[in-house]
């Protein structure tokens, strides 16, 4: 990673490269189309840098193993697709509750169920928010370009380490399997954040110290003999039945994300200022939207694009801002309408969804047609 080099890479490979750059040294996974190349790439590259790759017996074991490895101090990742993502939900909730940094990639394919394994989709985006039981914090990033996958993977690790929480990377089969030129970042070029470790003496260490917004996390085996559980716990990590502590504990893990939305959000705007018709998009669909908006501007239509790179927490403020002058907002999704619910909740103007679940991408024409109606 020392020299800057232009490579022609698949989205999945870029994701793996991003993980390596971010300092990921542990990967556990179970193969599933269309995410498998991430595992294959890391199975080759991780041992070369002294990292560990393990193919587990299933997806549940995989997410469990990365949480274990993370607690033992390694930055960790797993990758999967819809069916595997469903299986990982319980483990995801555990990582949220126990505040374990780790990164989970979901390369979305056609669903529900086994669905259309080689077809693209964006139909796991609401699952990403609500898939596990109980209230829990969610951070999800949604890159759309191969180079961006690399960068966003680094960002995902950074957010995960900084906020001591699992971070999801969601992209679809199109971007996962697409190849584009990628510049590998040089060392130091991108920010790499490591989790804060405790500096207090071990006896004083409280792994869930409510005095911190994000309590420092010791690694197992380094002298801090702390306890981790998925039960509601006190600030020392031990279970509690005290109603106040239970509620406060859950609220804190949600608050730590809520209070830092500004830092977590990342959006891209195109011609948003004064846009009369806005398209709100994420992932590969946003590429079509960008193309569409550019073409519409050429035609004189006051079209604008808000592209979310952080889908969760939902960019409510940016969306409201973007729609200030808008007559309508168009939401293209490779599903039957998911994020459109969020948009409807937040904006006052007309909302139109464009949905597609036939395994084909939403093309710029579809978006242009919809937007022109409101121009």
């Amino acid at each position: 990673m020392a020299e800057k080099k232009k490579l022609f890479m698949q989205g999945n490979e870029a994701c793996a490269e991003g993980a390596l750059y971010a300092g990921c040294r542990f990967y556990a996974g179970y193969p599933i189309t269309p995410s498998t190349e991430i595992a294959e790439y890391l199975s080759r590259t991780l041992p070369r840098v002294g990292g560990k790759f393990i193919q587990m017996e299933d997806e549940i074991a995989s997410i469990s193993a990365i949480a274990g490895a993370s607690l033992a101090g390694l930055k960790s990742m797993t990758a999967t697709s819809g069916p595997g993502f469903s299986l990982k939900q319980e483990g995801l909730g555990y990582a949220c509750m126990a505040e374990i940094p780790c990164v989970i990639v979901d390369v979305m394919r056609g669903g529900p169920s086994t669905g259309y394994p080689t077809g693209p989709s964006q139909s796991d985006v609401m699952q990403a928010k609500w898939g596990t039981h109980g209230d829990h914090p969610v951070i999800a990033v949604t890159p759309a370009y191969v180079q961006e996958i690399l960068h966003e993977t680094v960002r995902a690790f950074n957010l995960s380490e900084k906020y001591r929480t699992p971070v999801l990377i969601l992209f679809d089969e199109i971007v996962g399997h697409m190849r584009e030129p990628v510049m590998l970042p040089e060392e130091g070029e991108l920010e790499v954040i490591d989790r804060e470790k405790p500096t207090c003496p071990p006896e004083e260490y409280l792994p869930y110290d409510a005095g911190y917004e994000i309590p420092p996390l010791a690694a197992f085996g380094e002298g801090y003999r702390f306890h981790v559980t998925g039960l509601n716990h006190k600030d020392d990590g031990f279970p509690t039945n005290d109603p106040e502590m239970i509620q406060e504990g859950i609220k804190r893990i949600i608050r730590k994300i809520d209070n830092n939305k500004e830092d977590i959000w990342k959006n891209e705007e195109h011609y948003i200022d004064g846009a009369e018709v806005v398209v709100f998009a994420y992932g590969s669909t946003a590429r079509s939207a960008k193309y569409a908006v550019r073409e519409l501007r050429k035609k004189g239509v006051k079209a604008g694009l808000l592209r979310a790179l952080t889908l969760w927490p939902f960019p409510d403020e940016a969306l409201k801002d973007a729609c200030q002058k808008a007559r309508a907002v168009v939401v293209p999704e490779l599903n039957l309408g998911q994020i459109v619910y969020e948009v409807e909740r937040l904006v006052d103007c007309h909302v139109e969804g464009i949905y597609r679940v036939d395994g084909e991408p939403i093309n710029p024409m579809q978006i242009m047609e919809a937007m022109e109606k409101y121009s």
Binding site: R25, F26, A28, P47, R48, V49, G50, K52, I54, M56, E57, D58, I60, A61, S62, S64, A65, I66, A67, G68, A69, S70, L71, A72, G73, L74, S76, E90, G91, Y94, A219, F220, G221, E222, G223, Y224, R225, F226, H227, V228, T229, G230, L231, F238, P239
Partner: protein, 285 residues
Amino acid sequence: MSTAAAVKKPKISVPFDYSKYLRKGKLPHIWCPGCGHGIVLKSLLRAIEKSGLSKDDICMVSGIGCSSRTPGYVDFNTLHTLHGRALSYATGVKLAKPEMKVIVVTGDGDALAIGGNHFIHTCRRNIDMTILVYSNAIYGMTGGQFSPTTPSGSYSTTSRYGNIEPVFDCCELAKASGATFVARGTAYHVQELERIILESLKHKGTSVVEILDSCPVYYGRLNKMKSASQMMELIEKNGTVSVKQVDKLPPEKVQGKLLRGILHKEDRPEYCEEYQKLIDRVSGK
């Protein structure tokens, strides 16, 4: 209920000081009166003391269940995970820090019902860890449903007419899956158990120790056992025979009994070591 074995010359003259390994202020533990889990824990702590392992180097991992509450009481690096998944979390910990001693405490439900897949695959990989299966033939935590080790015909809250399911032999399963150290002990034979656990801690590779203990509150009550002691007597003492004695005993004394002791031990490459070799090979170290 006094026994011949018990009157042997005492080996310990001062009581063992468990407090060194117990977290302060956590006792009394949540286990019911007469629950075997506490007895097992004590054997484990004595074995750890003998092993010379340092508290910082031990990571104890568990799933969910009464038995899986053990880590909360002991002063190690402790990880109380999800039902059935202890071994997967433990695999992550061990691979990340191979220098740590990983001890998994799990129940018959946790290890063999919901966690069965991780159990067999961990054994297959022969990753270095000690797996203690607290086998009380019941799901204690959820109030007494039958488990994969509940004997056929026994009663539980989901087998009110007698269990029609056959059981797993945990040790056979571990062996067939690839575990390189397989043993069985009981909460009755506390000193033997301590020795077995000590051996398992010394072993390099996956070691499985099935420990017969008792849930007097559910299994006991539902199966008309009068007391915790009676259960221990019937199941742990009379229901087992030591591998060391089995050859000397007449067949009728062995019939239907479970073997105690170290049942299998072999040397096979350990997973983390193999992985390190791979790293050394490809990273050009």
